[in-house]
Subunit: 135 residues, 4 copies
Amino acid sequence: MPHTENPIFSLEMEVRDYELDTEQIVNNANYLHYMEHTRHKFCEAAGVRFIDLHNDGIDAVVRKIDIEYFSPLRSGDIFISSLNLERKGARFIFHQVIRRNDGELITKGDITCVMLKDGKMSRGDEVAALFSSFL
Amino acid sequence: MPHTENPIFSLEMEVRDYELDTEQIVNNANYLHYMEHTRHKFCEAAGVRFIDLHNDGIDAVVRKIDIEYFSPLRSGDIFISSLNLERKGARFIFHQVIRRNDGELITKGDITCVMLKDGKMSRGDEVAALFSSFL
Amino acid sequence: MPHTENPIFSLEMEVRDYELDTEQIVNNANYLHYMEHTRHKFCEAAGVRFIDLHNDGIDAVVRKIDIEYFSPLRSGDIFISSLNLERKGARFIFHQVIRRNDGELITKGDITCVMLKDGKMSRGDEVAALFSSFL
Amino acid sequence: MPHTENPIFSLEMEVRDYELDTEQIVNNANYLHYMEHTRHKFCEAAGVRFIDLHNDGIDAVVRKIDIEYFSPLRSGDIFISSLNLERKGARFIFHQVIRRNDGELITKGDITCVMLKDGKMSRGDEVAALFSSFL
């Protein structure tokens, strides 16, 4: 399932020039921003926003990121950021892929999140229930 | 050698409030910024700056990042960002650790870089020569 | 003409959660990013990209920014970023407005740019020619 | 008093390469980050942190920024970010200057803040009391 051709959510985005570094390619940290925004938009599409969860005492915290960079994005590039979601016990793993709109593979990342409830580790059952149709 | 207690370079830094997100912890992407700045300061201490390499046609490109988040940094935190360097063929792997100044482990990352010469993959021998005393 | 109801260019954008600060509102510096991206998209629509100008030795440099914040953007907000352009001698002044998509005024800014040619101040006639239909 | 040679607070900082844009100069928005961090460090030195104020229901909100860019910062530059503070009724105006460590003037900004108490405009008397020795 990870990184398959059948993502459960996709978002089209575009490079903004302030995201470029002196090598005229998107700085490595900005791909994490793209991926985070994609997760938040997915959650919103699934009916929940991280900021609302936060206000309810539930915080999704990133525990681990493994990301591979295949080809860089440049000024003016349009790209598709997509994801799949897997649950392993208390861990929620987002398998995320970014492709330029001509199909070129840009980056693949596995982002592992855990859920804190009032600041303490939880199994994330409330969150899993919200995502049940995707897991 | 990776992530040992004997880093070849360390840098003290401090959280800036604009790096925090709504959960009042440093956003996950900013740790990549901290680690990148640490690599660049290490390179500078070793007598070379990425921006000069760039102007000579050599670009260090991040190929892979594996990062684990143990504990978050918060407003006002001071931290030590340190690194070791390993070469595996054409790959330069920075083993990086961030600890809060009270010793708390914050994050560990393995950042794999490759060197482009005039836009093409190279073995990075010029760069390895510059870092020979550390490899 | 400045800040009129008749902008020469408008762009719809959306808040991304990593742009929020601990007060759960968009950090003040990010509005400059929104405005810069709007200028670059305007230039692209007018047939020119800043990065191409740069590669031709012409750099647009921001000389002055006056920006007023009326109401903050929050998580999930969609907004319209629009601009007008005025030339005063060697200065290009972008009059920029951001409104939330319900019409609420968010911010107004006057961004004054000058043009460097091979690193030296120029009158910016090449750039003015490119924008002649808007001036 | 504004922008005099006698700032009430100064902070030495250094350019980080991820703050540069494709023109190899610091992106205009990052100077607002530098200035914000300087204000927060000043507040901390005066015994108060914005994040603690926030947790007490008081939010400092930026209402207006007028900033002039004289000379750009580049990779490796070290700079001094300093400020003075003026109160005009409910407005707190930070007069901020950034100079490279060789004295070159980089940027000057007037940042006008107002204080919200539980989300509503206030005169900011609590905050003024905290800063009384500087006003």
